[in-house]
Amino acid sequence: MSELCDIRGVSVLYRGQPIPALKEIEFSIAAGERLAIIGESGSGKSTLARVLAGLLPPGTKVSGEICWPGGRPLPGRDLGFVFQDPSSSLNPVLTVGEQVAEGARRHLGLSWKQAEARAREMLEKVRMPQPEKTLKAFPHQLSGGQRQRVAIAAALAAKPGILIADEATSALDMVVQADIVSLLDDLVRDARMTLIFVTHDIALASGFADRVAIFRDGRLVETGSTTAVLASPGETYTKTLLASHRDLTTRPLIEDAVG
């Protein structure tokens, strides 16, 4: 795989904050890989997603450099971004059709009519029930999971090569989360996109990421293939994260009821 971007000694300090959110980050991302950025609150994982997408607020100090051998991606055209909360990333006064069509019209040079057809196609791709009807709906008329499907459709409408999903499923319930993750996995695979999936949930990432990068307190703790890091984590913190994971096979904290 060729290199998509090389992050060289990047530090990020938000305005008014005493401590950098990211400290001297060094690593590179390969084109076409599915990378999971994993960390708890305050780890800097979202800051990394934002610095890559050029979405940091004005007044933020960034040092070091990010090199893009194929040219810096233009947000919206080359890089799609899905946020945690679709209620705040979608425009409440535009219909679903208008916001999905907007990116396609602007970046693919389509007419409104063609862009609307593209929006319908995208809503089908994200497995939206009743895509035709949804085109005319407003975000508040949809459930949280449906809004996130719309946000994904909008992010992918202009056929970007990179998709960054920042905790895109953590506000959803688990059944919807599983659906959305499998949807993202399929879409990215079909289009051979690079996926940067930011999450606090190492188990969720382990199901589909090629590589994981573990962050803590603004630093990169370790990175490696998902298989290697899960089988033999090199760092104590990664071991702690893995040990904190709880699923249905984990021993309960109480004695089971008799019967």
């Binding site: 599983a178 949930d201 188990a203 199901g207 298989t227 699923d247 249905l248 009821a257």
Partner: protein
Amino acid sequence: MTLLEIRNLSKHFASGGRNVAALTDIFLTLEPGETLGLAGASGSGKSTLARILMRLLPADRGSIRFRGEDWLALSGAGLRRRRAGMQMVFQDVLGAFNPRATVASVLDDPLRIHGVVPKAERRGEVAALLDRVGLPTSYADRSIREISGGQRQRIAIARAIATRPSLIVLDEAVSALDVSIRGKILELLVELQRERGIAYLFVSHDLAVLRAVSHRIAVMDAGQLVEAGTARQMIENPQSPTARALIAAVPRLMTGPPQGHKHEF
């Protein structure tokens, strides 16, 4: 004696001119010192049930008996007095507090309002509560905004146990916490239950969390109770499609190579 008995509980909401059933004929019981996990997806009605139980919403039909009394018939001073027996811990840790409050005032309020201990002993009781939930007593003077999310959830638990309740409703109480903190909060809840015989109604969409602490699990879907049983039975041998979907949705650590196109859902 059964601590809580919910019978035939129903609730409708009017939405856009339609009448939407939020709860239909719910039957549930809870024994003292027991944890009942209430599982379901968003919109399944589990939070509506919790709110009716807390008397934050009226029910349309049905009855709730709590500690042998008709809980829905209580009002005014009688209800206020008995609220000490049933407390709640919410998901949104910061939203559940007055942001200008100090830790001491958050814990002192229920002690004062419910007259749990004589005035002279309240300071000592606040310190004892902090100690019990694993926080230094020096935290009493801090602002609720200055402490971390996990610490705030410990304060929410301390506030809930302050009135010496026999039931605490936990509404997604650990969902917003980091995984490393989540386990410690669950352990604290289990310890408190052992020590004080508190019953929990634990509402969550995360079956892994419910499996950790629940004796029994009830599954809700579209306002109906679709399945209930011991936690082990429910997980090992789910009967309803809803329970099977909830089980399949729990992420597992995949230590082998990625499974490829289809997940084992």
